[in-house]
Symmetry: C2
Subunit: 714 residues, 2 copies
C-alpha cells in the first residue's frame, strides 16, 4: 500500500505559485496554512521572490531550504510539467496540482493529464489532482489546511474523501458549523494518480479515524474499488453518497432484467458487496457520520427515550417504528426504580417524559435506568432548555451517563445555541463527551436506523461463492458457436444447452417445425405439454398469444398448432417448442446483466405479470455466495410467498438457492452474456425441482467495442 504520510503529515510544504495578491489561490493557501497553525514549515515559491504574509518566497522550488514533502502547484496549466520536473529534482514526494485545464476540458486536456501521470511515474512523484482543492488534517501534530477554501474545523474522528469539490465543501462546512469533529479531508478533483480507493486505504489504517464519509460520482475502476475498499469497510464504517443517479443516457435494454435495473443498480451492488452504507440524503449522511464516529453500533434495534417534552419524543417514536426499530416497554425493575425517584406527574413509559421542570438529577436517574434496562440497545435523550431550569445540569447528567455506558447514546437538543451562552455551553458539553447532538427529533431516529442498517450489513455471514459442478468449457463452446439474431439473442436450442451445462433445470422440451416433428417432440416430452410458437421476431410470447398450455393429447396439440399457425404464421417465420406442462408453482424471475469493468449482476424477484409493475427484484454481484443468495431471496417484498403463504406449502428453498448460485456462476464465468432472462421460473414444494419455463440470452457487443460505442453502462 502507498504511504500517503507526505500528503497528510508533511513536515515541509512549498506553495508553487504563491502570490501576495489576497484574492488568488496562491495567496489563500499560504494564508490558510498559517491561520490554521500548520506545525511544519511553509515556503512560498514565486519567481519574483517577494515576501508573502511575512514569509520570504523562494524563486523556485529548487531554491527552497531543506527537504519538501508536499508542494502545491498553482501555475498555469502549460507550465505544470516543467514545475513537476523541478519538484522531482528537489525530491518532493507529493504534488497537489490545484491548476485546472486538464481532463475536465476535453480530449486535449485528457492527453495533457496522461502526460503528467507518465512524468510523475517516471520521476517517482505522486500527484494529487489536478483541478482539485487539496487536503486537511486536524491532527495536532500537523494542523494542516492545505486547501484554498476556508471552513471551521474541530478536531475529531470523521475523515472525508469527496470527488466533487462543491459537495466536499458542503460536507466540511456542515461539520464546521455544527462543531462536529473531523480528522482528514481530501478532495482530489480529476484524481489522475492518487485515487479515492488509495485514500480510503490510508484512512483505514489511521487509528484516529473512526468513520469515513465518501462522495463519488463515478467509479474510475470498479474492480479496483471493490478490491481495495472492501477490506477498509471491514475495519471501519464508510458512509457514502453516490450522486449522478439520474438515468440520463441509459442505453436501451431489451430484456425484462435490463428493464428492471434502476439507473444506479451497479453502485448499489458495489457498495453492498463492500459493506459500504449508502445514503440517499447528504443531510442524513452528515448527521449519521457524527454518531458513527463517536458511538458504538447498537447491539440490537431496541430504542428507549428520555425527554423533558412529550411531543418531540412522539416524533422520535413515529420515525423509529416507521424505520423498523423497536420501542419496547421498560423492564419492570426500571419502572419501579423510576416510580420511586421521579415526581408523580412524570410518565414512566417509553419515552420517559419527566416534564419541562426536570433538571440534572431527574435526567441522571432516568438516563441511567434506561441505559441499564436490559430491554434497550440504545437511548435517545431529548431536551429543551426551559428558562426556569439549570440547563447545564442537564448537560452534565448526560455527560456523566455517557461516560459510564457502553450502549449507544444520542441527544436531541431542541434549542438555539446562539440564543444564550448557557445553551451553547450545554450543547458543547454534551457533544464534547462524544454524544452526537441533533436539532430535529426525527434525526435521532434516522441516525439509529442507519446504525441498525449498518449492524445488519456487518452481521451478514461472510462466505465465498461455493464450488459447483458446472461444465464451463461446454458453455463457452456453445456461446462461441451460437449465432445471435439481429438484437443479439441466441437461438433457443443454444439457451437450453447453455443452461444444461450449468445444470440449471429448464423444463424438458423438444422442437419442431413440421407437424410430424412437433408430434414426435410431444410424445418424447410426455403429455401434458405446452406448445409455444417461436420466431426471432416474436419477443413477448404471452402478449402475442403464442402459447398454448396444458395440452393433454394429440388432438388438442393439433388444434393448438393450427391455431398458432393461422394467427401468427403470416407475419412470423414460426418454429415450435414443446415443453413439459407444469402445474402452477410460485412464479419468480431470475436474470443477469453485464456490468462492464465489474463483471455481471444477477437478479432475483417476483415473476409473473406483476414484475414490471412492482419491480420487486433485487440485484447482486455474480458470483454469489450462499448467504448472498439467501439475502436476495429474503429481501424481496414478496418473500412470504416462498415460505408458505396463506396455507400453501413452502417452496423448495435449497433448490432455489442452488438455482440462483448456478445462474450467478454462469454469468460470472461468461461476462459476454449481456442480458439473461429466466422468466418465469416455477418453484414447487420441497422435492420438486424448479422449472425454467422460458429463457432468453443476449450476447453483448464484440469485445473492445463496448467502451467506445456509448453502449457501456456507467
Amino acid at each position: 500500500m502507498a504511504n500517503l504520510d507526505p500528503l497528510f503529515f508533511p513536515k515541509s510544504i512549498a506553495v508553487i505559485g504563491a502570490s501576495d495578491r489576497p484574492l488568488t489561490i496562491g495567496h489563500r493557501i499560504v494564508s490558510n496554512l498559517l491561520q490554521k497553525g500548520f506545525v511544519g514549515r511553509v515556503t512560498p515559491v514565486n519567481p519574483k521572490g517577494t515576501s508573502i504574509l511575512g514569509l520570504r518566497s523562494a524563486p523556485s522550488i529548487l531554491d527552497v531550504d531543506g527537504e519538501v514533502d508536499l508542494a502545491h502547484v498553482i501555475v498555469k496549466n502549460s507550465l505544470v510539467p516543467q514545475v513537476l520536473h523541478q519538484c522531482a529534482d528537489k525530491g518532493v514526494k507529493v504534488c497537489i496540482v490545484n491548476t485546472s485545464g486538464f481532463k475536465e476540458m476535453g480530449p486535449d486536456g485528457a492527453r495533457a493529464e496522461r502526460k503528467l501521470v507518465d512524468l510523475a511515474r517516471e520521476r517517482g512523484l505522486r500527484l494529487f489532482g489536478p483541478n482539485c482543492q487539496g487536503v486537511m488534517n486536524t491532527d495536532p501534530a500537523v494542523k494542516l489546511y492545505s486547501n484554498f477554501t476556508f471552513a471551521d474545523m474541530w478536531p475529531g474522528h470523521i475523515s472525508m474523501v469527496c470527488q466533487g469539490g462543491g459537495v466536499a465543501e458542503v460536507i466540511n462546512n456542515y461539520f464546521g458549523m455544527h462543531r462536529v469533529g473531523t480528522r482528514m479531508y481530501a478532495s482530489n478533483g480529476n484524481a489522475c494518480d492518487i485515487s479515492i480507493p488509495e485514500i480510503l486505504q490510508y484512512y483505514g489504517d489511521d487509528d484516529q479515524c473512526h468513520a469515513i464519509v465518501l462522495h463519488v460520482e463515478s467509479f474510475a475502476d470498479p474492480a479496483q474499488f471493490l478490491e481495495l475498499v472492501r477490506p477498509v469497510a471491514a475495519k471501519k464504517p464508510i458512509l457514502a453518497l453516490k450522486s449522478g443517479t439520474t438515468p440520463e443516457g441509459a442505453r436501451a435494454v431489451s430484456s425484462h432484467t435490463g428493464g428492471l435495473m434502476a439507473a444506479d443498480t451497479v453502485t448499489d451492488v458495489i457498495f453492498d458487496r463492500c459493506n459500504i452504507l449508502r445514503f440517499g440524503s447528504l443531510a442524513e449522511l452528515c448527521e449519521a457520520a457524527e454518531a458513527f464516529a463517536t458511538q458504538p453500533i447498537p447491539r440490537g434495534n431496541r430504542l428507549g427515550m428520555v425527554t423533558n417534552a412529550g411531543s418531540p419524543a412522539i416524533i422520535v417514536t413515529d420515525e423509529a417504528v416507521g424505520a423498523g426499530l423497536a420501542v419496547p416497554d421498560l423492564a419492570e425493575e426500571s419502572k419501579g426504580a423510576l416510580r420511586k425517584e421521579l415526581q408523580a406527574i412524570a410518565s414512566i413509559a417509553n419515552p420517559i417524559d419527566m416534564m419541562a421542570t426536570a433538571s440534572g438529577p431527574e435526567f441522571s436517574v432516568s438516563l441511567r435506568t434506561l441505559l441499564d434496562d436490559p430491554n434497550m440497545d440504545a437511548a435517545v435523550v431529548c431536551f429543551m432548555t426551559p428558562f426556569f431550569v439549570d440547563t447545564l445540569s442537564i448537560a452534565d447528567a448526560i455527560v456523566e451517563q455517557a461516560k459510564r455506558t457502553d450502549k449507544t447514546l444520542i441527544a436531541v437538543a431542541m434549542t438555539n445555541p446562539e440564543g444564550k451562552p448557557e445553551w451553547r455551553e450545554a450543547v458543547d458539553r454534551v457533544r464534547g463527551a462524544g454524544v452526537p447532538v441533533y436539532y430535529f427529533p426525527a434525526s435521532a431516529a434516522r441516525v439509529l436506523y442507519h446504525m441498525d442498517r449498518f449492524r445488519r450489513l456487518r452481521e451478514r455471514p461472510e462466505a465465498a461463492p461455493p464450488d459447483l459442478r458446472v461444465d464451463t468449457r461446454r458453455a463457452a463452446d456453445i456461446l462461441d458457436r451460437a449465432t445471435p439474431g439481429p438484437e443479439g439473442f441466441i437461438p433457443p436450442e443454444d439457451v437450453s444447452d447453455l443452461l444444461a451445462a450449468y445444470e440449471i433445470p429448464a423444463a424438458l422440451e423438444g422442437r419442431g417445425e413440421s407437424w410430424d416433428e412437433i408430434k414426435e417432440a410431444a410424445a418424447r416430452v410426455g403429455y401434458p405439454v405446452v406448445l409455444k410458437a417461436e420466431a426471432p421476431t416474436l419477443i413477448h410470447k404471452t402478449e402475442a398469444n403464442a402459447v398454448a398450455l396444458n395440452i393433454t393429447g394429440e388432438a388438442q396439440l393439433r388444434a393448438a398448432h393450427d391455431r398458432l399457425l393461422a394467427s401468427l404464421g403470416e407475419s412470423h417465420e414460426l418454429s415450435f417448442l414443446v415443453q413439459k406442462y407444469h402445474a402452477r408453482g410460485v412464479e419468480v424471475i431470475l436474470g443477469g446483466v453485464a456490468a462492464p469493468d465489474l463483471g455481471s449482476m444477477v437478479m432475483f424477484g417476483l415473476g409473473g405479470v406483476h414484475v414490471e409493475l412492482f419491480k420487486d427484484v433485487l440485484f447482486g454481484l455474480a458470483p454469489l455466495s450462499s448467504p448472498e443468495a439467501e439475502t436476495l431471496i429474503d429481501g424481496i417484498t414478496a418473500a412470504p410467498l416462498l415460505s408458505g403463504y396463506r396455507g400453501a406449502p413452502p417452496v423448495d428453498r435449497t433448490a432455489l438457492v442452488d438455482l440462483l448460485l448456478r445462474v450467478s456462476r454462469l454469468l460470472a464465468d461468461h461476462p459476454r452474456i449481456w442480458e439473461l432472462d429466466l422468466n418465469p421460473v416455477m418453484l414447487f414444494p420441497e422435492g420438486t425441482r424448479p422449472a425454467v419455463v422460458d429463457a432468453r440470452v443476449k450476447l453483448g457487443p464484440p469485445r473492445g467495442k463496448a467502451a467506445g460505442d456509448g453502449s457501456a453502462r456507467p
Copy 2:
C-alpha cells in the same frame, strides 16, 4: 366566525400571577412582552402589588386601569375559576390559561377543565389553554410575544398552530435560527375552548398570512375539523405534521380491508379531503414553509438550475428527478444567449454551471435566461461563496431577478453565514428579497417537490358526490334485521341483498344445504358455476380449500360437493353457495371501514393473493365524488393493469367508477357497517359489468358503546 382579535391584537394585557422572581413563568411573560417591544399596555397582577420589571403591579385584575383585552392566568390551578370570574367582571375578552393540572392529569382534571369551559361560556369569556404556552404576533402593530419561551422572531408570513408545545418550540426556534419570517404563533395545549380549527380560520382571514404550519396529535372533533378547515385550505397552503402515527393499541381487525389500513389512514383521508399538505418530516415541513410563504406555486413540474459548483447541482437533479420533477433541456434560444454571454468553460445545459469564478453579471444573465426560458416553471440558484468572488454581487443578481420574475425561485447557499460578515449579508439579502435559502442542495428539490404535490392537490377538480339510484331504506331494513355472527359478520344472503339494494353487481348466485337445493341453485344460476362451502367459522375460503371453480355440469358439481363435505364437514357446519363462474378478469378489492366521529372510509386496490404483500390500496372518505374515485383508481401502483396492460384490453372504467361510487355511498349512508370487503371483484373489458365474487359485511358494536370500550379508532 369567532373574532380572535383580542387574542392576537390585544391593546392591553394583564399578567395575573406576575412575579418579580426571574425563574418563574409569571416573570418571564412580562419580560418577554417588554423585550419584544409589545406596542400596547402590560399590567402585572400580583396581590403583593410589588413592582415588576419597572411596572407597578395591580393587586387584582379588577384594579387594573382601563380595558383589558387579554389576560394570562398563571395562578394555582384551584384558583383559576375564581380568577376567571374576576376577569369576566372586568370585561376581559380572552384568557390564556398557562396553568396546568387539568385534563392532562386524568379524570379529576378533566372535570375541573369542563367546569372552566362552562364558566367561560356563561360569563362570555374565551379561554386559550389551559396547560399551554401562549401566542405571538410579529405584526408591527402589536409585536406580541405572549409566551414564556423565548425565540428570535423575524416578521414574515408564516403562521403556526401547534398542539404539542415542544414541537411548537422546535418549529419556532427553527425559523428564528434561520431568520425565516413568521407572523402568528399559537400553542393552545389542552384547547378546552378556542380550538385549532378556529385558530386556522382566523389565520385564513389574515391577509398577511401566506402559509400555515400545523401540528396535531389527534383530532378533538374530526367532523368539525373537516367543516371549518377545508375552506381555509382553499385560501392558503396548510402544511401539516400529524405525529403519533405508531399503531399502538390499534384494535384487532378481522377483514382484509381493516388489515390493509395503516394506523394513520384516517389522518391521510382527512388531510386529503381538506387539501392539506401532509409531511412525514418536520425538517422538510419547516423548509417548505419558507417557500410556500414567499414564492408562487410553480405552474408545472419543470425545473432549471444555475450554479457556480457542478457537484451540488447534480444532487439537486438526482433528488428532483427521483421525486418526479422534470429537468428539461434549455430552449435553443436560451442556449444561444448563454453561449454569447458566458465564458467558454461554462456548461450551457441544465444545470447551467458557470464555474466557481462566476460573479454577479454571470449569475444575472444565467438566471434571467433560465427564468425566461419557456421550458421552465421554477429555478434553483446554487452558490458557494469562494473567497475570490464578490459574494454580494451574486446576492444582488439573485435579488434583481427575484424582483422581475413571476416564476418560483429558490436559492441554495452552500456557505456558513457565521464564517464571514459578507456571507451572512449575502444570505440575508437573498432571503430579504423573498427568496427562500437552504443549505443542503437536495432541500431545494424537496421543497419544489412539495410545491408540485400541492399544485396537483389544488388542481383536482372539485365535485360533489353524485346522486345515485339506491334503495337506502331497503338497505337499512336489511341491516336492522340481520343477525350478526359472534364476530359481527352478517349472513351471506343479507350481504347479497344489501349489495343489490345499491345495485352493486354481485355474481349471480344461489344457496343450499342439501344436495337437491344445491343442484337446483346451479341450474338456476347456469353452468359454469363455482361452488363454495360456507360456515360462520370459515373466514378465508381460499386457504381452507373451500372453493371449487369452473364446474361445467352436474356430475362435476356432485364430486365437488362430496369433496368439500368430506374435507370440511366434520369441523364446520356447512352450507353451500353456488355462483356464476366468470372467466378470469382483473382482480381488485373494494372495501370499507368505519371511522368513528368522521364517517366511513372506502378502499380500492389490487386484489388477489398479493394484496397483503404489496398493500397496493388507497383510502378515501365516503361518499366519494367521481374525481375522487378516479384519483383512487389511478393512484395505485397497479393502475396500468386497468388500462390495458401488455396487450390486454382495458377494463370497463365507467363501470368501475360507478361501482366505487356505489360502495362509498353505501358506507356513507350506513355508518353501522364496521368493515366491508368485496374481494375479489373481477373487472372485465368494456361492456361486461364487474363481478363481486366474494363479499363480507361486519357490523360495529352497538351505538354508544364505541367510544368507551377501547375499540374506537383514533
